[in-house]
């Protein structure tokens, strides 16, 4: 179970590469997991070709949710929005390189849920966005 706290997760939690806010931004969305208080806001800049050029997240929460956000943003920079829309639960787990039980899965998936709600321009995020 200590595998859950692989070096990369602890590193990205303690010294994230994409923490911050983008002002101005083209897309911004935030949401939280009220059960544990994890909170994520994601800002994106998108170029004229619909490709994510910059990304940043802010928020607070457990190591899994925060590292998941940082790794997710790293993976979307340079990608067209259409590809971002197609990201799945498995992509998040591949980023983290771990398997998770149902409770911690919610932590890991919160950033993808927030990202997709923003990219789709939805009023609110829902779990359906991150189901396979």
């Amino acid at each position: 179970m200590d595998d859950l706290y692989r070096q990369i997760i602890i590193e990205r939690y303690k010294t994230p590469l994409y923490r911050g806010e983008l002002d101005p931004h083209d897309i911004s969305f935030e949401d939280e997991n009220p059960l544990c208080g994890d909170h994520i806001r994601i800002d994106l800049r998108v170029d004229e070709n619909g490709i994510v050029s910059e990304a940043a997240f802010n928020g607070h929460g457990c190591a899994i949710s925060q590292a998941s956000a940082d790794l997710l943003l790293e993976s979307v920079i340079g990608k067209p929005l259409e590809e971002v829309k197609a990201l799945t639960k498995q992509d998040v787990l591949d980023n983290l390189g771990i398997e998770l039980g149902p409770v911690r899965l919610k932590c890991a998936l919160l950033p993808l849920k927030v990202l997709k709600a923003g990219v789709y321009g939805l009023g609110e995020a829902h779990d359906g966005l991150v189901e396979d």
């Binding site: 179970m1 706290y5 544990c36 607070h60 899994i64």
Partner: protein, 414 residues
């Protein structure tokens, strides 16, 4: 069962009575169960009482004339009598079986509350309530237009009784509060709070979900009007709890759920409610669970509640000192003298879920989150805490394992 000597609880014997404590978790590590505030483990006598019931006695209660039905009814009612005696109720008919503390409080809100409260009436709660003693009143307030006020919690986790006295000048109709916080562990001065409420003309309800399992609680000594508690937090099964109410109050209340058993007579267009306590027990109840509840009461009586409270005081005193030595760790709530066996804490730089997960990998079960007390966490500006809680079967060695586990957390998060 023979009674323990009051000097010290025989821990080894107590632990041997709980089969689950023999199991291993996390690749061979023994279970260190520090989550009894959420639910307690069950001694063999409780498990066997329910198993025996299903093997030998199972039948629906009341009105049956066959042997099994009579035996089942007697066992169900006999458990009620032991529960009533355990909390010092005058009569068994003052104890109503419910599903749990939450249902007990809802029962009061929907029957006593709907009948006796009206728009503008004041209900006093506290900032340290579990959601089970908040949401039923939110719902009733929305329905009837009640006013809700809250006794504030001080920085050291106590109720602000001066502020309470001020609130009492507003002529509340009901004061409903927890006798022991499930997060801070604070043991509130229930007798004093109740006496002041009565002087102000208010009815009182005590959430005893944490106090009844851990402290000697006597409803006549407290002079409380309603007391709600759950079996599963006091060594009994899930699915059964109780509401104590003074007989005159219960008698004057309308029924709660309608159906079988809660009636004396039913006609096509009308019914006559049954006598207490059956008036509030519609449908086939949790019979095996009631019997298990009775067995849990027997077990606690065998230990002696004074001994249970003393044992937990020894552990929490030790735990607070030991936790204090973990770098940066902050325990919420008052000093050991004013609290039960609950330690909710934060560790700087590590989210409570991560703390709990790493402790789990060492076989240590603690809880992380808001513990169904979001307003209290908001008050302290925390999204979540990690909570270790203790009961009759916990040892000082397990506190040491917790502390070692927390050092491991700090090592991982460096």
């Amino acid at each position: 069962m023979e009674k323990f000597q009051p000097a010290m609880m025989d821990l080894l014997r107590v632990r041997n009575d709980f089969p689950i404590l023999e199991r291993e978790v996390a690749s061979g590590k023994p279970l260190v169960y520090l989550d009894s505030t959420a639910t307690s483990q069950k001694p063999l006598s409780v498990i066997q009482s329910m198993d025996d019931y299903y093997r030998r006695t199972n039948a629906n209660i009341h009105r049956g004339v066959h042997t099994l039905a009579e035996e089942a009814t007697a066992a169900y009612e006999n458990a009620r009598e032991r529960i009533a005696a355990f909390i010092g109720a005058k009569k068994a008919r003052e104890v109503v079986y419910t599903r749990n503390t939450t249902e007990s409080i809802n029962l009061v809100a929907y029957t006593w509350g709907r009948k006796n409260l009206k728009a503008g009436d004041l209900v006093i709660l506290t900032e340290m309530e579990h959601h089970s003693n908040l949401v039923p009143w939110h719902m009733l307030a929305a329905e009837l237009g009640l006013r809700l006020e809250f006794i504030p919690v001080t920085g050291d986790g106590l109720l602000d009784l001066a502020a309470y006295r001020d609130l009492l000048t507003l002529s509340p109709r009901l004061v409903a509060f927890t006798q022991m916080s499930n997060v801070l562990g604070t043991i509130n001065p229930a007798k004093e709070i109740i006496a002041l409420a009565h002087q102000a003309g208010a009815v009182t309800l005590v959430d005893g979900a944490q106090s009844v399992p851990h402290l000697p609680v006597n409803v006549q000594d407290l002079n409380v009007d309603f007391l709600a508690f759950s079996a599963h937090k006091m060594l009994g099964p899930t699915g059964i709890g109780a509401l104590y109410g003074k007989e005159a109050l219960l008698d004057a209340m309308p029924p709660f759920l309608g159906g079988g058993d809660m009636i004396k007579k039913v006609h096509l267009r009308s019914f006559t409610p049954n006598d207490l306590p059956h008036k509030f027990e519609a449908g086939t109840p949790a019979i095996a669970e009631a019997i298990g509840f009775g067995a849990a009461i027997d077990y606690l009586n065998m230990l002696g509640m004074e001994n249970v409270a003393r044992h937990e005081h020894t552990i929490i005193s030790y735990a607070l000192e030991a936790l204090n030595e973990v770098d940066g760790l902050n325990v919420f709530g008052p000093s050991a003298e004013k609290k039960g066996g609950v330690a909710a804490f934060t560790l700087p730089g590590v989210h409570p879920h991560d703390v709990a997960q790493i402790l789990d990998s060492q076989g240590i079960a603690v809880r992380a989150g808001h513990h169904c007390a979001m307003p209290l966490h908001e008050k302290f500006n925390l999204p979540a805490t990690t909570r270790a809680s203790f009961y009759v079967y916990n040892t000082l060695e397990e506190v040491d394992l917790l502390v070692a586990g927390l050092h491991k957390v700090q090592e991982i998060f460096g």
